[in-house]
């Protein structure tokens, strides 16, 4: 984003946030546990062809009040399955799950009344208008006509969809639908907000705007649980997160702690011709603590990137484009979810 655009964007953000609506009614401040899972398991029954499948395999985690908690993991890791169990739409098949001080096994209805949920596939009603989608949802929560009207107006403003209130959902772009889904999840002023890949399909500006809104909700005491494939999002938004793979938790901690624990401080990236990875890696062996080969890059993990770069030059790799950067969650993710590693 150019400086000018950034300036305009910030101004816009200030304008929007300045007159911000209070999106939540909670004011919990103590560090109580909002979600607590012990040995949480989801085994799907065997389908027509296959056998039973364990998508979530005895995981433990604890979400504290008013924090943003993230699930990170590759496709099929079991993130959505976990989110659906927290949302009390899919019962656990093993372990215990406490949400907002209630047991998910027998208080689903009361829990759902206090949860907002943004499912991975929007679940909007394409036959109805934007406003009608909010109306229906508000009714499901037993809200009065007046309360629904007021809340809808606020939330449409929030999602910048006010001028689309009477448009059919069918006619919305993918990003607009996502924003509507997020707005809808706030209809019941939830204490706990579940967001399954909330910003997938949003343009950068809408993403940043949503982040601001999520920060605001957090300040108001709403607990956020989210999944994402965007590492920058996880780093910015999440106070703590777990990395999942094959239905198991492979690491837990704050983004900073995860980086400190699992990867080195810096990374030397060497850009390579596709297909030459193994050969280049063999020559680079020893320049860093660990080397990872991607299709178009070598990632050399080291606490001193400049020194690794100098060593690479010594090995005659000076001809490659190189860059030294700080390690990010992306590196943690690559490490933990097991791509091919050359130590």
């Amino acid at each position: 984003m150019g400086i000018l655009a950034q300036f305009v964007f910030c101004g816009y953000m200030l304008a929007v946030c300045g007159g911000a609506v209070r999106l939540s009614g909670v004011s919990v401040s103590s560090r109580t546990s909002v979600v607590s899972a012990r040995g949480l398991t989801k085994t799907y029954p065997p389908g027509k062809a296959g056998s039973a499948f364990t998508a979530v395999d005895a995981i433990d985690f604890e979400v504290h009040s008013a924090e943003a908690f993230g699930f990170l993991g590759p496709n099929g890791a079991g993130k959505s399955s976990t989110m659906r169990m927290i949302g009390c739409v899919s019962p656990p098949t093993g372990g215990t799950l406490q949400i907002l001080g209630m047991d998910a096994a027998d208080s689903g209805k009361r829990i759902r009344a206090r949860i907002g949920s943004v499912p991975q596939d929007d679940l909007l009603d394409p036959e109805l208008t934007v406003g009608e989608n909010l109306l229906i949802y508000g009714r499901y929560f037993g809200m009065s006509r007046i309360a629904i009207a007021e809340r809808s107006a606020e939330l449409l403003e929030f999602a910048r969809l006010t001028d689309k209130a009477d448009a059919r959902v069918q006619a919305l772009s993918g990003g607009m639908r996502r924003r509507l889904t997020i707005a809808r999840s706030l209809m019941n002023t939830p204490d706990l907000l579940l967001l399954d890949e909330p910003t997938t399909g949003l343009d950068p500006q809408a993403r940043h705007l949503l982040w601001e809104r999520l920060f605001e909700l957090k300040r108001q005491g709403v607990t956020l649980v989210l999944t994402t494939h965007y590492m920058d999002e996880a780093e910015r938004l999440c106070d703590r997160l777990v990395v999942m793979d094959h239905g198991r938790v492979v690491a837990t901690g704050s983004p900073r702690a995860l980086i400190d624990t699992h990867v080195t401080r810096e990374v030397l990236e060497l850009l390579i011709e596709p297909g030459t990875g193994a050969a280049v890696a063999a020559r680079a062996y020893g320049v860093a603590d660990r080397i990872e080969v991607l299709a178009d890059r070598l990632l050399c993990y080291t606490d001193d990137g400049e020194r690794a770069l100098a060593r690479a030059h010594e090995r005659g790799l000076g001809g490659l484009d190189a860059l030294v950067r700080r390690a990010t969650l992306e590196d943690v993710f690559l490490y933990l979810t097991g791509r091919s590693l050359i130590e």
Binding site: V89, S117, L123, E132, Y140, G142
Partner: protein, 260 residues
């Protein structure tokens, strides 16, 4: 299994909101359809049939014989159309039941709310049909009310079992198959157009066991005014058992599919 009156009401109101967009079209269809059938078959074919003064017709005109049978069959068809496709679609990945069950509503609320709407559609279609039949002189005004009730019961006897099944269906082709291989044969061979007694013996026995036969007999005896109280109780009980059985199974299948 959880149930709340408020949840059911809100689930029902969802379907009403959607119906607001299409109700005009459905009213036109539910008037035009019986009018066309009664005109063509009742008047046209009836002229041919009435010559014979057949005992099979309960001593009435073919039009008066046909109208209640056609009504019962039409309610079966309406019930199938309203509960097979819509229930199937609503239960799939991004369907409207999935939205409802993420809120305080339970799968049972979603089922009953939808069935209330389906019942409402059957009731309104039966009413317009019966009024058209009355306008054709096929049924006296005093029997329109009881006839509508009998026809609605017939429709519901299909709606609840079909909903209970449709929620579990994964391939929509099955729903078309159900229509072609179950609903259509029932339509033809349950005494809608001719008395079952005219069928060959073994087919007669089969026909008498079908739910549509029970509905047709109920509607016809109510409409012609020659109802034997015992038979009315028999037919009604048969249909009521289907309604309740469909509900009981549906409560289970909805719970199972919507909380996978």
């Amino acid at each position: 299994m959880q149930l709340s009156a408020d949840g059911v009401t809100q689930a029902w109101r969802y379907w009403l909101l959607r119906y607001r967009r299409t109700w005009r079209g459905t009213i036109v269809i539910s008037v035009a359809n019986p009018a066309l059938f009664l005109a063509a078959l009742g008047f046209g074919l009836g002229k041919l049939v009435d010559h014979e003064h057949s005992a099979y017709l309960h001593g009435s005109s073919y039009l008066a014989f046909l109208a209640p049978g056609l009504l019962a069959a039409a309610m079966m068809q309406t019930a199938y159309i309203e509960s097979a496709g819509p229930v199937h679609v609503s239960a799939r990945r991004a369907g409207v039941y999935r939205v409802a069950t993420a809120t305080p509503l339970s799968p049972l609320d979603a089922l009953l709310g939808h069935l209330l709407f389906i019942g409402f559609r059957i009731l309104t279609s039966a009413t317009t049909f019966a009024i058209v039949a009355w306008a054709f002189g096929a049924v006296p005004a005093s029997r329109v009310g009881p006839l509508v009730l009998a026809a609605t019961l017939t429709g519901l006897a299909f709606a609840t079992p079909v909903a209970a099944w449709a929620v579990t269906v994964e391939r929509p082709a099955l729903l078309n198959g159900g229509f072609r291989f179950v609903i259509m044969p029932l339509y033809m061979f349950s005494g809608t157009f001719f008395a079952v007694a005219q069928l060959p013996g073994w087919l007669q026995a089969v026909a008498r066991c079908t739910p549509l036969y029970q509905g047709v007999q109920l509607c016809r005896s109510v409409s012609l005014g020659d109802a034997d109280p015992l038979a009315v109780v028999g037919h009604s009980s048969y249909l009521a058992v289907l309604v309740v059985g469909g509900l009981a199974v549906g409560a289970r299948t909805f719970q199972r599919v919507l909380t996978a």
